[in-house]
Amino acid sequence: MIENLLIEIFIGITIASAPLIFAAIGELLVERSGVLNLGVEGMMIVGALLGFVVISHTGNPYLAVLAALVAGMMIASIFAFLTQFLLTNQVATGLALTLFGLGFAAFAGRDYTEVTIDLIGPIHIPILSEIPYIGPSLFSLNPLIYLAFFMVYLVWWFLFKTKQGLILRAIGDNHDAAHAIGHNVVLYRFMAILFGGAMAGLGGAFLSLVQVPIWGEGMTAGRGWIALGLVVFASWQPFRIILGAVIFGGITVLQLHAQGFDIRISAQYLSMLPYLATIVILVSLRMRLKNKTNRTVPNCLGRIFHSTT
């Protein structure tokens, strides 16, 4: 009975972390290119809505996931157009798009609050899922969770093992120098923003397609903002995102289970912990600025790029 409980807790933690992993890994790529996208929450919620709408009409989970990707990308393209071509302030634009996304999703989703769908269920990897303990926990997860881990690996591989990834990081650190060498700063950033939006949409869709089979306005409940904090916590390192998401997302699940066992840990203190840790990390980053390391803020984060040629 205790192993079943541990497996349930493990699965609960993966379900709580997956939306954060998607949104944060997308945002990590965007911030590595030097753009601060605060519109993550808005992109997540429209992804949640469109994925839900498509699956309720077609019953096709693949189409629904694709729709969520596209929804996030569309909001992101507005952000990209405004910040890269019209050179608007990234912080203000991101905030505006979060508000817009939340309001638009609430409005467009009015008729869908009474609909329930069939959730995308977990898959059982043959043979591997038979292994005691590890099988039911690691190898019987929802396919979208495996996709989340894969996206983390993909982003890491892209950033650190490809030439384009190197260029993108260079753009994030010094967009004027990168431009002088001849790289297309706007194009790289545009693509990165679209990717970030797609991932945020996917993260939102996880909520409405996997976690609860309903749509409710505001159902992202601030997870987009948590994802933004997560990127800092992870010091812009892809694999650290998983660690951070498990901590941020897992704390809620663990705390709920602890209550069931009557272990009284103050909910408020526990919720504070991940953010306190983020502040500590930020402070230690400043102190290590002189060293060569990948674990620093992309130098041009948030700065508007004016091409001078």
């Binding site: 409980l5 609860v212 997870r223 709920l256 209550q259 069931g260 009557d262």
Partner: protein
């Protein structure tokens, strides 16, 4: 008389006749506003209030103009919303406990506007409070849960440790215990009224820890969808949630605010409104129940129906002694029932037998 003077006298007389005519045919409609804590699409708490508002509109037609504002958070923003509504409305209903202080503040600043605060306890000359005896509803579902559970663990998803929620927990537990002495309750506090993801997490955690019946004091349909998926039982909260749990829902507590809202808005129109303190239950029709589902045996159904009838006649009280507090100190003597104030309205203790620690 010159032509010009004649035409202006003619225009003036026509104008005054028209004005007098329209003045006597239509009176100003009453303007009523509702402040909601969540979306009407929650199909729970806010949905029920909105049904009440719609009932008023249906009954009063053009005599009332209704404004609703959804998803207003229980922080300083609520004061802004209530203030802006107070400038243009005659009566405002604030439908969540956490709106208490902002409502009191705005009520003091706008003495000519009437305010009604749900589930609160602060009164002013122009501020009423109203609440429903949800604990009577919990009594009925507690009895059903006590009979239907096989694992003897009832899972309770609670929101905030305020008296209303504590009353519900205590009432449900006592009722379940009265039909099943071995029953226990696992209570999880999610510190939100509406967060489908977190409510689902709480539901899953309770089920993993052995609960085979769920009760909730949160506003969304998420817990009952989890119950449906996992093949266990649950109850609809504030509205009939059968659509989301066709096999899971045994019955549900339905908040029927319509008649009360109609009476209050009509009182404003008639000029008879005075500050009041309403605490109605099954007897007055404020607490209703979803139809009993066919997934329970006939004798359980009959027992529940009898409890509903007893409540509607005032023949039983869910809190009837002997009952002790969780720490063993006596609360109610044999046959004694508690007064509204302070026992019920400021309840801040678990009853004896609940083995969770009381939240701080």
């Amino acid at each position: 008389m010159s032509n010009r003077r004649f035409s202006s006298v003619l225009k003036l007389s026509i104008l005054s006749v028209v004005l007098a005519f329209t003045g006597s045919v239509s009176a100003d409609p009453v303007k009523a506003a509702f402040v909601y804590i969540g979306p009407t699409g929650d199909h729970g708490w806010t949905f029920a209030h909105d049904q009440g508002a719609k009932y008023v509109k249906e009954k009063m037609g053009d005599d009332v103009v209704i404004t609703t504002v959804e998803s207003v958070e229980e922080n300083s923003d609520s004061e802004r919303v209530i203030t802006s509504l107070a400038r243009k409305n005659d009566i405002i209903f604030t439908t969540s406990f956490g709106y208490m202080n902002p409502t009191v503040k705005v009520a003091k600043r706008y003495p000519d506007v009437k305010f009604e605060h749900a589930t609160g306890y602060m009164l002013e000359d122009n501020l009423s409070v109203y609440s429903a005896r949800f604990y009577e509803g919990r009594h009925v579902i507690g009895k059903i849960a006590g009979r239907m559970t096989k694992s003897n663990v009832i899972g309770y998803i609670a929101s905030f440790p305020i008296p209303e929620v504590i009353r519900g927990i205590n009432s449900a537990y006592l009722a379940a215990k009265s039909v099943n002495p071995d029953v226990s309750m696992k209570i999880v506090w999610v510190y939100t009224w509406y967060d489908p993801g977190k409510e689902a997490d709480a539901a899953n955690a309770l089920i993993a820890q052995g609960a085979d019946i769920l009760m909730q004091h949160t506003d969304s349909t998420a817990p009952i969808t989890v119950a449906e998926e996992k093949g266990i039982y649950a109850f609809g909260q504030a509205s009939n949630m059968r659509e989301w749990g066709p096999n899971a829902q045994l019955t549900g507590i339905i908040d029927d605010w319509g008649p009360y809202y109609l009476a209050r808005v009509q009182a404003v129109k008639d000029g008879t409104w005075t500050s009041s303190d309403t605490f109605d239950g099954v007897k007055q029709g404020m607490v209703k129940f979803a139809p009993m589902n066919n997934n329970m045996p006939v004798d359980v159904k009959n027992e529940a129906m009898k409890a509903i009838i007893d409540l509607s006649m005032g023949a039983i009280h869910p809190f009837t002694g002997p009952i002790n507090k969780q720490d063993g100190t006596p609360w109610l003597a044999e046959g004694e029932t508690p007064p509204n104030f302070p026992d019920l309205l400021t309840m801040d203790f678990y009853v004896e037998g609940i083995d969770s620690k009381y939240p701080n």
